[in-house]
Symmetry: C2
């Protein structure tokens, strides 16, 4: 991550040897976004949201010891009982651990952390090392009427990890980080058994060493876990080839009070209402996922991401739609709208020498072709497979791109995209330092509804910015193409005031309302948690919500397992 530079931060986390992100922001200690070698970035930010990055007015995160952390309410009886299960060192009640496990990394979370807002903090963090320890903790949760919140990498952005503010029972954050191994690769069967607490890089490293890959690369990849992916129905950047996590997940083990639910790893089954798909997306409400059997692929012979430019957003969308219907099988289809395209160029390092000349030449060429460069949209399309497959697919795509008025601009930008793809969240902390709030909302809809939905989201967001009284930015890209539709991913940002959370709520609500109104879903791959729960009834209908609530209530009558998440109840 050469593009990021070190930043000093407060404190490190106690407890067992489990990796955690910074308590106050994204990623690892000592790494942060900077724009010193990106001359177009500060002007872009100034133009778009009015924030002056040159100003000295930095609002850094507070020092940890300035925070008011509610004391742990863990009773000594429960502490002893849990310690008997996992060992004393794996029941942690220190403030830093508990703060790290209070929130995920949404803008709402970051604002609350920086704003010293901690209505309820877990009373303990417990680190089991085995499924059998998880089973004993689950039993203890029922016995002592505890609230148990499974915790993976802590990258969640929909409020799935926080205790309900009015929770009066003891709350235990169950950190799965010690269950981090690839247990078995069935090379003949093309499935791997992996523990739920394994983080993205751990998984790929263990698989890659034997020539395999899962192919699941969500934005959060570097700090999220397999269990978290499954519990929130995550999607990775290469989902066009490898599928969403729901497609990859074949077998499962989930601990419940009455035993372990074991879903055998088979490619497809017609055994009633799908338990596999009830557990996928269950966000800890049905039990604790301990192990997942996923399909794995041989590392492709060749892997390339090519960049393309389209004269307009509409042309870019139409091209992605045509690719999804064609015989082509790319691994990534992504196109940014004109604002995100401008942002991409603004976060690139200054072109110098030959590349600057090439860039100037390209711009002249496109102008001659009649392009309005302010409308131009950048697209990345990925190819993975044999050399022949990659070549055939690039030709198929090239024809479609050309038909839609686009042009290929080669491998350079794709290599850069590939290197930087996991860095975006760092930018948000940097932006917050400068008084800016940014977050994302994503949806999916049939191809026919994407453009009207996009238009309405823009209108709604801009009305919201006006209502809030800020100069707001909203940008978008299409990713995750399917035969019958795609995901639209919106990023929005504004210079926040003292009432940042209320401002955020207005903008977020406007966007989610527009998703629902225009036939999209409340969330394509971030899950529901608390953040999207208010819209779930509109998304799946009230009788649908009632059916889901019936499942949750029957599975957890005493509400011990992450209560309140998904359905809001």
């Amino acid at each position: 991550m050469t593009d990021l530079k070190p930043k000093t931060t407060a404190g490190a986390v106690d407890g067992p040897d489990v990796k955690h992100m910074k308590w106050w922001g994204w990623g690892v200690e000592g790494t942060a976004f900077h724009h010193e070698d990106k001359p177009a970035f500060a002007p872009f930010v100034k133009k778009m949201v009015g924030v002056d990055l040159g100003s000295d007015a930095i609002t850094a995160a507070p020092a940890f010891d300035e925070l008011d952390i509610p004391a742990s309410r863990l009773s000594s009886e429960v502490a002893s009982s849990l310690s008997l299960v996992v060992g004393e060192g794996n029941v942690v009640t220190g403030d830093l651990e508990r703060v790290v496990h209070t929130y995920g990394k949404s803008i709402r979370d970051l604002i609350r952390i920086r704003g010293n807002i901690f209505p309820r903090v877990p009373d303990a963090v417990v680190y089991p090392a085995t499924e059998s320890e998880v089973a004993k903790i689950v039993a203890a949760a029922v016995e002592y009427d505890l609230v148990l919140i499974p915790f993976g990498g802590g990258s969640n952005i929909v409020g799935s990890l926080e205790p309900m503010p009015d929770e009066e029972r003891m709350v235990v954050s169950l950190d799965m980080g010690r269950l981090d191994r690839v247990l078995d690769i069935d090379e003949d069967g093309r499935v791997a058994r992996i523990q739920a607490g394994a983080q993205g890089p751990d998984i790929e490293e263990q698989l890659n060493a034997k020539g395999w890959t899962m192919g699941h690369f969500p934005d959060s990849f570097t700090h999220s876990t397999l269990g978290g992916w499954v519990a929130t129905r995550s999607s990775g950047m290469q989902s066009d080839k490898f599928g969403d996590i729901a497609d990859m997940t074949k077998g499962l083990r989930m601990v419940r009070p009455d035993g372990v639910v074991v879903i055998r790893a088979v490619p497809s089954a017609s055994t009633g209402p799908s338990l596999r798909e009830m557990i996928l997306g269950s966000e800890g409400r049905l039990g604790v996922i301990t192990e997942v059997t996923v399909q794995v692929h041989r590392i492709p012979e060749q892997r390339e991401i090519l960049a393309y430019l389209f004269p307009t957003w509409e042309a870019g969308l139409a091209a992605m739609q045509a690719i999804a219907e064609s015989d082509a099988n790319p691994s990534v289809t992504r196109v940014s709208n004109e604002i995100e395209t401008e942002m991409s160029f603004a976060t690139s390092k200054e072109s110098k020498g030959v590349s600057a000349l090439v860039m100037q030449g390209l711009q002249r060429f496109l102008k001659v072709k009649g392009w309005d460069l302010t409308k131009m949209c950048l697209s990345f399309i990925g190819y993975e497979g044999s050399e022949e497959h990659v070549s055939i697919n690039q030709k198929l795509v090239a024809k479609i791109v050309k038909k839609h008025g686009g042009i290929g601009v080669g491998k350079g930008p794709g290599v850069l995209y590939d290197q930087k793809k996991f860095d975006t969240p760092y930018l948000r902390d940097f932006f917050l330092d400068h008084g800016g709030a940014a977050d994302v909302s994503e949806t999916s809809a049939p191809w026919s509804k994407l453009l009207p939905l996009y238009t309405e989201v823009y209108a709604a967001a801009n009305r919201a910015f006006e209502k809030v009284g800020v100069q707001g930015l909203i940008m978008a890209h299409l990713s995750h193409s399917y035969h019958s539709g795609a995901c639209l991913y919106f990023t929005f940002a504004f210079e926040h005031g003292d009432n940042a959370l209320e401002q955020y709520d207005v903008v977020k609500k406007a966007i989610q309302d527009a998703f629902i109104q225009e036939g999209g879903t409340v969330s394509h791959h971030h899950g529901v948690g608390l953040e999207h729960a208010p819209w779930l009834g509109q998304d799946v209908s009230l009788p649908g919500l009632a059916l889901m609530q019936g499942l949750l209530d029957s599975a957890d009558p005493k509400r011990n397992f992450n209560p309140g998440k998904v359905t809001g109840k």
Copy 2:
């Protein structure tokens, strides 16, 4: 269906203009299997199961008026109430209608029908024409404490349609046949809204007329409905390209007592435990599916099924596994074991003239190559897409086939397979006329487990045949390939005695036990019903079964909706 010949049958069904199969067997009146032009068939049957097709001892289905049908228990109050909803002519209590709606078409069903075994018959068949009528019937079911069993085409083979024998409440079979329209094709979004009662041919006809196809072709295609496919998680023959019904189903409408569950049609969503996938496979236990939004495809430019021969079953399996891992994207991958291959040749018309010479030449060639022709396995691989796509894929597959010792034998057998693919069930009725019982069991497992599972199923079936004291036949094919595994489909047959049902149970149990023991699932695409319910706890684990039961109980506390199916409770 030129290969089938007319057969006279008893009676036609009353009620509204809804297509039904024969009350005593598969398919339409006046069509039946014959083997007059298939000289190898009778010797094959004699050799394999000892049944003499030349014998005059035909056990035809009884005359309808010989049956003892329990009288309808429908109260006049309920009859009036239902008639008010759907009109008097659409509440039918005649014996023939009620018998047609008592069972599906499993061998257990056919034996019971022919054996005059009717412990419980629906008290009425009701034909709603709109979702709003369905809603009123669902309300009546709760109000009058009726049992409601949704009925599509009646092709079910796992006992999902029959009333529980000890059911004391009034039982209503809800025939969805009047809800048979393609309501809308969103050509831009590539999704179509289709009513649940539409049968396969109706759907394809309506879609094809506008240039589209669903691509879902289960064996039951000619007599099954969209709602039935969804309710049992069906898979079609071209699933390798088009996906299983679970992949095709995007949106849903299901009537429940508290309203209509509406799942909006989006390509993918992370909105909690998936309601879509709870409704898929629910076999009427959660409510009545009235409408499904499925993804649709433009009719491919080219469509071909090529035939291949492999020297052994192991080689055929290995080739399918290699194809599934490769960059090739066929629409069908199917290979029969040596016995099913022999059966295929035995049900072919006699080769004459040129084709006989070609066949003899081929056999000589293969013998020279060192093949043992008794081990030879026939395979069909389908290709759909642009001419270029079909050509590229045929070349990719050809390489893999060659590597595994197989050879291509061209389009001829594939054309024949394509024409005859929906005819197999007729053969079963013919066989039953001659004292033979035959049925199927199918599973799926990771590639690594298929061969051991296959071996154990054979051993178990043969032990069962011995126990029962019959000369049994079991044959198999692989179909429905996935990246991480495939479906194995077994057909078994024997000359039954007077205790046909007990004999069947012994054989069926042996096969299902072997599936479970060897890591397969209880059912890949036929559903659970009553037939597979005894194994569900072993398949999804007892805590999994309890979770599923919790969903069903919370959704249907008074057990009005097809009680007993799937979980056995």
